[in-house]
């Protein structure tokens, strides 16, 4: 039996260490991993825990990320609690198996430390990997800081493993800005954390020899559609479970999470929508602008998948103009947040004006100054009652001003 760790009330952890401790406390049975920057320390720390006798599970070093996720699929199908971590190119190499894991309804937890996708090669943070995997059928949770990385990783197990959900979960944190920035983290003690997550309940495990089961079956045009529809249905209906887990976590820790997070939105006239660490900068910016009398607010998606279609429109109810900030550039299209949020707002009573800003690719800084500029342009749209700028713009980009539509 693994030794328990005595944690301080406040630990100084970066986002990677926070995720490592969440995996340790959840008593994961199998971690199959092929470490990649900037998520490497998650599995490196975990292997140290294992070497020090603080983890009972298996740690399997494999030959690629495709194999890492395949190992996770095998272990999860066998009937164990399973987790791993990856980023960027590694995430891309996993992508085939990500769809397999979701289709087989295996509640694997994947700690994704978001990083740009090549080419050109880049190790820094943006959301290209998150965007690439968003349709893979996984639940996607997003964090801003190490505390949330810890909290949401623990909750990922409880959400994905719920018998009404039974889907794999990605827990996103920004590469370096969150993953390598040490901050104060209030962790649960080992017993409380495990009690919160609960024992793993196997469902149709391959190691049940009394009921032999085949995973990875082939279905053609007469069955495939029904299986995918069932998966989609259970994914779309996972909101109540996610909210219940958020509520139970709040009762335990006092820390509150919502499907859609709102900051200074009660009387907001304009709002920015962003994901990850940028949300914290945007909140600071909104607070500064409020001193100037600008009623600025910030909205973020805590849960990117399932997409909170109703809740996002509800959160933006009453604002005159919205700026959607995408930290990834979907090739040949407007940003994902722009497209999805605009679709949601199309059905709202007062359709606000919506713009799209692409920012921070490959780790490019997003400053308070930049965010002020976005807020001010958004305010100009609100005041004019129409768009005063093109729909898609690019923040901090050198060269001639680039815009679309």
């Amino acid at each position: 039996m693994a030794e328990k760790m005595e944690l301080h009330e406040v630990e100084v952890w970066d986002g990677n260490m926070a995720a490592s401790h969440a995996l340790r406390q959840a008593q994961v049975d199998v971690v199959a991993a092929y470490p990649i920057t900037p998520s490497t320390p998650i599995v490196q720390n975990y292997s140290q825990f294992l070497a020090d006798g603080q983890v009972d599970g298996e740690f399997v070093m494999v030959e690629s990320e495709h194999a890492a996720m395949s190992g996770c699929v095998g272990a999860a199908a066998a009937g164990g609690r399973v987790a791993t971590a990856t980023s960027s190119q590694g995430f891309a190499l996993m992508s085939e198996v990500l769809y397999q894991a979701a289709g087989m309804r295996l509640p694997i937890v994947l700690c994704v430390v978001n990083r740009a996708l090549a080419s050109p090669l880049n190790v820094n943070g943006d959301h290209s990997d998150m965007y690439m995997g968003r349709d893979a059928g996984w639940i996607n949770l997003c964090s801003y800081n190490p505390q949330e990385a810890y909290d949401l990783t623990l909750m990922s197990f409880k959400i994905g493993e719920d018998l009404d959900v039974r889907l794999p979960v990605m827990m996103h944190q920004d590469g370096f800005i969150c993953s390598h920035t040490a901050q104060s983290v209030r962790a649960l003690d080992d017993d409380s954390a495990y009690k919160f997550v609960g024992d793993y309940i196997p469902k149709n495990p391959m190691l049940d020899f009394e009921k032999p089961v085949t995973y990875g079956s082939q279905t053609e045009e007469d069955w495939h559609f029904e299986h995918k529809a069932r998966q989609h249905n259970d994914h779309m209906n996972s909101f109540p479970v996610i909210e219940r887990v958020f509520k139970e976590f709040k009762e335990l820790t006092g820390r509150e999470y919502n499907l859609v997070e709102k900051y200074h939105m009660d009387d907001a006239e304009i709002a920015l929508v962003a994901l990850g660490t940028t949300v914290e900068s945007a909140i600071l910016t909104a607070e500064e602008l409020r001193k100037e009398g600008i009623k600025a607010g910030v909205v973020s998606l805590r849960v990117l998948r399932p997409f909170p279609f109703i809740q996002i429109a509800e959160a933006l109810k009453g604002v005159k103009a919205v700026a959607t900030l995408d930290r990834s550039l979907p090739g040949g299209a407007l940003g994902m947040l722009y497209n999805e949020i605009t679709a949601s707002l199309y059905h709202s009573e007062h359709r606000p004006l919506v713009t799209n800003y692409i920012y921070g690719l490959g780790g490019r800084d997003m400053t308070i100054g930049h965010l002020k500029e976005v807020f001010k342009e958004t305010k100009a749209n609100a005041d004019a009652g129409k768009l005063t700028v093109p729909i898609q713009q690019f923040i901090g980009l050198r060269g001639p001003k680039l815009t679309f539509y």
Binding site: G103, M104, R105, L106, R166, N204, F209, E210, K211, P212, V213, T214, Y215, S217, T219, D222, W223, F225, E226, H227, A229, R230, Q231, N233, D234
Partner: protein, 143 residues
């Protein structure tokens, strides 16, 4: 098989080999197992074959190489009466091919170590009697 709606089957597109719980299943022969309709034992791949294996019991030494290598468990080994040192005893022996699940890959013939081989791949439409009557002779080691 009855086509069902999206809400009418197990999640994860998993397939169960049996409808009921089973015990000690490794010690039950395939033909005696009550497989569910979803088990691949219920499906035939015979029509995939271009060539089929023919088994010649006269040369077989019961080494079970073919049984181990067959990817589809289509080499049938069963208890049968054999004569050893003048005594008749029951022993696991090669009895033939499961032509419903054999897809004709030829691995069994390839790994067969006897001379001449005890398993030969022949045209799917060849008749077993004709093939057995024209079985190759011992080649012997080249000098």
């Amino acid at each position: 098989m009855e086509l069902r709606g999206w809400d009418e089957f197990e999640i994860g597109s998993v397939l169960f080999s049996f409808n009921e719980k089973v015990e000690n299943i490794p010690n039950v022969q395939q033909e005696d197992r009550s497989y569910s309709e979803n088990n691949s034992f219920q499906a035939s791949v015979a029509h995939w074959r271009v060539e089929k294996p023919i088994f010649n019991v006269d040369h077989c030494i019961d080494c079970f190489f073919c049984w181990i290598y067959c990817p589809d468990s289509s080499i049938l080994a069963r208890e049968k009466e054999v004569e050893k040192k003048g005594e008749k005893i029951m022993e696991q022996s090669m009895v033939g091919i499961d032509y419903v699940h054999c897809k004709g890959c030829g691995v069994c013939s390839s790994v067969c170590p006897t001379d001449p081989k005890s398993l030969l791949m022949v045209d799917e439409h060849d008749e077993e009697e004709r093939v057995l009557a024209n079985w190759p002779k011992k080649e012997g080691k080249e000098k």
